[in-house]
């Protein structure tokens, strides 16, 4: 049961996770302009931090909402989340496994859709319109559209749609596979 104090801590954790996500994305963009090309090691570390931040962000978002129903299976949908069960970050709010699993499924569906049909993503998913409800949408992203690799195209499309959840739900390893 969440108290008001719990909600505050949750918000802080949420804000921290979003901030780290924002910093990470801008680093990822900056590294593309680096002399010597993309560094695999650095990109991998960035993606690991982003994944941690994503997990915290989602679990802290879910924790502020009541959850009901039977716990869906925790089976990860994509290869990237094979490390996720081990990821227990020491946060004040213990994340409930069922809540986290509930996050996995809608994400996984998005990823399956994305991986199944690389060429023909529906325009809605690639919409660059800012959604009103996520008013704190990332402003840190470059406004000029740069020439991107195929993996990065979808990544950038997510960013611009102003949807942090979908941003992070896109397989972070797409970034790596853009190598």
């Amino acid at each position: 049961m969440s108290t008001a104090a719990d909600m505050d801590v949750n918000m802080d954790v949420n804000m921290e996770a979003r901030r780290i996500l924002a910093v990470s994305i801008s680093k990822l963009y900056a590294s593309r302009a680096q002399r010597g090309g993309l560094r695999l090691h650095r990109s991998l570390l960035l993606s690991l931090v982003m994944r941690s931040a994503r997990d915290i962000y989602h679990s802290s978002s879910r924790d502020s909402e009541p959850h009901s129903g039977p716990s869906p299976p925790e089976e990860p949908m994509d290869t990237t989340s094979s490390v996720e069960p081990e990821r227990t970050v020491s946060e004040p709010q213990p994340t409930s496994p069922s809540a986290q699993a509930a996050t996995e499924e809608p994400e996984a569906e998005y990823e399956r859709g994305a991986s199944g049909d690389k060429e023909n993503l529906s325009p809605a998913k690639q919409s660059r319109k800012r959604r009103g409800k996520t008013s704190a949408a990332p402003d840190f992203l470059p406004s000029k559209r740069a020439r991107l690799e195929p993996g990065e195209e979808r990544y950038a499309a997510c960013c611009r749609s102003g949807h942090p959840e979908s941003l992070t739900s896109l397989s972070l390893n797409r970034v790596i596979s853009a190598f």
Binding site: E16, I20, V23, K27, R35, G36, G37, R39, L40, H41, R42, L44, L45, L48, V49, S52, A53, I56, T79, T80, V83, T88, V89, S90, S171, N173, R174, I176, S177, F179
Partner: protein, 445 residues
Amino acid sequence: MAGPGADMQWCFSQVKGAIDDDVAEADIISTVEFNHTGELLATGDKGGRVVIFQQEIENKNLPQFRSEYNVYSTFQSHEPEFDYLKSLEIEEKINKIRWLPQKNAAQFLLSTNDKTIKLWKISERDKRPEGYNLKEEDGRYKDPNSITALRVPVLIPMDLMVEASPRRVFSNAHTYHINSISVNSDNETYLSADDLRINLWNLEITDRSFNIVDIKPTNMEELTEVITAAEFHPLHCNTLVYSSSKGTIRLCDMRESALCDKHSKLFEEPEDPSNRSFFSEIISSISDVKFSHNGRYMMTRDYLSVKVWDLNMENRPVETYQVHEYLRSKLCSLYENDCIFDKFECCWNGNDSVVMTGSYNNFFRMFERSQRRDVTLEASRENSKPLQVLKPRKVCAGGKRKKDEISVDSLDFNKKILHTAWHPQENIIAVATTNNLYIFQDKVN
């Protein structure tokens, strides 16, 4: 060599490099390495140049000046290149230099940038031939009719000239960025490692190399770790180790199979769950691995600590030294300013009793293994009077700051010491700040 006792003191000896604060990017030192006798000290920089210093032996009679190093040779090792297929620039920065043991009058070293390794021959010329039959001294050809007698040219002394020439170029073997090179104890082969692969070369053969480790997954989306450093065992020519971004070290025996993907030993310490954070993975990534000279131990450096491993014990290190534990609470800021990605190196002293590594604010740390004593010293122009004794420094992690202590928030994170080297036989150390090379020696009473 006397081991460093509890009352060992270090003094300033020399500093090399530009004085002004405006650092030219090409002058940033990227690697430092003594040769096997310690007589030569090589540095590589971001501009692709190699500078070699030589210890002046003449002054060995004056003990306080025994470690004067002067410029011996300077040459451009690597130039910037362009990969047209990938539209990528290849940096000329020298990532590593490794000396070959000396076999004849010339010296040989391997230097590498992200993609290409070069074998350089450094040789001295102090005589030149004079008295050719067909040529004048200035090189013009003589009129053959004017030649009446035959003579043998003689070698006459000349001013010492040190020449560096590239003898081998080992290229096109790495898709990813080379992070390590290591010469085998057999003196015939060496390895080069990039993020995902390790190749074995013969020093004589440039058009072929053998891939001995390959951790590239079939699907790059499944990538979870990369190779961060690799080294051959100093005595056993069949053994090598490589470290990973996940904080593990794998020891491989080349006799087992041609492809050493299966490790012989896996060194890994279980993570302390109380230290878990967003950045746990980044800070556990190993930035350097070095065998001890006697080959019984190896040392690894991750972001916050140095660990010494006994090669016979895989489940945990035998010693762990905290380099700058006060940074653990600052990881978020260090992530934002990119410092968390800094790759610190570490080194052993000649008899493996002390380990050394760098930190921020131009501090560097030494850990004496048997006595469990450690010291923090600073490389700065303020402490660079000849033979000035270095005063130990202390960082105040929190609470009341004592006099002479420096608080964590006052540390200059732009002043980092990533590369250090210890003379193989004497207590002389080379410490590289951003663009300066400091040489310190132990105080001789």
